[in-house]
Amino acid sequence: MKQLVRAFVAVLAISFILLYIVNRLNSAQGLTEGNVLTVFNWGDYIDAELIDKFGEETGIKVIYETFDSNEAMLTKIQQGGTTYDIAVPSEYTIEKMKEEDLLLPVDHSKIPNLKNIDERFMDLSFDPGNEYSIPYFWGTVGIVYNTDMLEEKGMTLTSWNDLWDPRLKNEILLIDGAREIMGMGLNSLHYSLNDKNDDHLMEAKEKLDSLTPNIKAIVGDEIRLLMENDEASIGLVWSGVAAELMWEKDNLEYVVPEEGSNLWFDNMVIPKTAKNIDGAHQFMNFILDAENAAQNTEYVGYSTPNKAAVALLDEEIVGDERFYPDEEMTARLEVYENLGPRLLSRYNDLFLEFKMHRK
């Protein structure tokens, strides 16, 4: 009994001493409240040099954490264990976070660099007037393919329906995302990728089932690694993944299918629990700076909504219609709508059934 009490006291004492040391260390590094900015972003989605540069310019220490899906990010913010000052969700998640009252409005007067953003990417349906969110990157969903292989087979690849060609047996890698894959099924039937009609969804699912012989695997982020290793010759990916792959390998090509596809936006927001709201605005302004945005774009490889940065970037990058599609093409692209839990779960159930469909 006595020993146990002694042990408890010892543990408590050690804990307090450690706590004190951590505190001292933090204040020695200037890590006091107001001086820290916690950023919650997708993995590998910023040039790390920019974080250092931001720290040097403002004296704010950035704590950078990453997530790999909108849903995972949302859960963490809802539970509020860590207080994030900046998060970078996609459009349908922003809609959802607005509904659930998880966001703080953005003060436009504190972000003079907002003028750098192309009008096309402001005032979109998911956030009218950009009250809560500031554009970060945007892109499309499309097909990355190996040109040598297609030449060998004498094929061209311009549409979703080309993927159903029996010559492509066991050649396709798909990304493990319900919206993306169901969207592909719906688009290939010329339906909207936000379709709410259950008959259309069933039809799309059956159409996807018939693609099974051509599918090699349905994978996550490892799709990058697998495509790089020539594991398959066709992959359904986001444009940024394609850009990176094409950077590595010359024989890869990216196409946004002609039936239409998804146009997505990742925007910066300030979660309700944020502590350093001023710092968050400074960070947004910093990212929107033309030079910083250009540097970030070169590193990340997705398309920037920053027209001042576009002017600074190589024509080779921004003149590339595969990644900076013109107005006519953008008109065929659709943004994901927040479908609501019931319909979203229907999409997911059908996707699960499709995955279970065996050859």
């Binding site: 849903e71 949302l74 859960t75 066991n170 493990d176 695997a217 019931r342 699960l352 995955k355 065996r358």
Partner: protein, 267 residues
């Protein structure tokens, strides 16, 4: 006094069990009664008995069974040979060490080994079989799973074999039993508890494998674990995820009872 202090020592254990074992189980049960819109309902249970989830349950059990079977087939002779070696603790250590490496790392390593241009295919080329698709097949899934679970099966069997009294074996051979008879009538029955423990340790996690189904099987194998992961992380349908978890827990309890060690041998 002595009794009271003993109870006092129990407190950490009781708190631990209550907070991290009992409470989560009740939470899982609680969540399973709510649909995605947060209404109280039994519809999740109804949904579980639709062909989709029944098929998934069946295939989970089937794969878990295959994994356990192959693990046992490899582990038993290995454990047996280990007990016969001179430096058995060293050999045992060598088998256990790989299990210290993170499962994800090992899975990624297999992505390289089994790839179209990976080591496995190079070997197949050299011996003249020619390149095969290994990755994203049932074979690769079961192979990698067996590899990962092997140490957990070897350990209990090794312990059981090691504790076997050698005089029983001498007696058996003195009485004229052939080696095969000695194995089937003496060694195997006496190590059955080790086999059962090993099967439990392998079968139960194998039922809910989920990372490997994506990395190694390319989502061509869908287990209940995959579905739970998807419901919690993607759909955010915690109710359905919990319902599947409830059935998994039930299945595990049944397996524990079924393979539980009985003091009085059946044989």
């Amino acid at each position: 006094m002595k009794n009271r202090s003993r109870n006092f020592y129990l407190i950490p254990y009781v708190i631990w069990i209550a907070l991290f074992v009992i409470a989560p189980l009740f939470l899982v049960l609680y969540y399973s009664f709510f649909n995605i819109e947060g209404e109280f309902t039994l519809s999740n249970y109804q949904k579980f008995f639709t062909p989709v989830y029944l098929k998934m349950t069946f295939s989970s059990f089937w794969y878990a069974f295959l994994i356990t079977l192959f693990t046992l087939l490899i582990a038993y002779p290995t454990a047996y040979l280990l007990t016969k070696t001179k430096h058995k603790q060293l050999w045992l250590l060598l088998i256990i060490v790989p299990s210290w490496i993170n499962l994800l790392l090992k899975a990624y390593a297999f992505l390289g080994i089994f790839g179209t241009y990976g080591a496995a295919n190079s070997i197949l080329e050299v011996i003249g079989i020619g390149s095969q698709q290994i990755l994203f097949t049932d074979f690769s899934f079961i192979f990698v799973s067996v590899y990962i679970f092997l140490p957990f099966m070897i350990l209990p069997i090794f312990n059981a074999l090691d504790e076997l009294n050698p005089s029983l074996l001498y007696a058996s051979s003195d009485l004229g039993a052939s080696q095969w008879t000695t194995f089937t009538r003496v060694i195997f029955p006496l190590t059955l508890d080790g086999v059962k423990a090993g099967c439990q340790i392998v079968f139960i996690p194998a039922l809910s494998l989920f990372m490997l189904t994506r990395l190694i099987a390319g989502n061509r194998v869908i287990t209940l674990g995959t579905a739970i992961e998807q419901h919690f992380l993607v759909t955010q349908d915690w109710g359905m995820g919990s319902t599947i978890a409830v059935f998994l827990i039930l299945a595990m309890v049944l397996i524990m009872i079924f393979t539980g060690t009985r003091k009085k041998g059946v044989l």
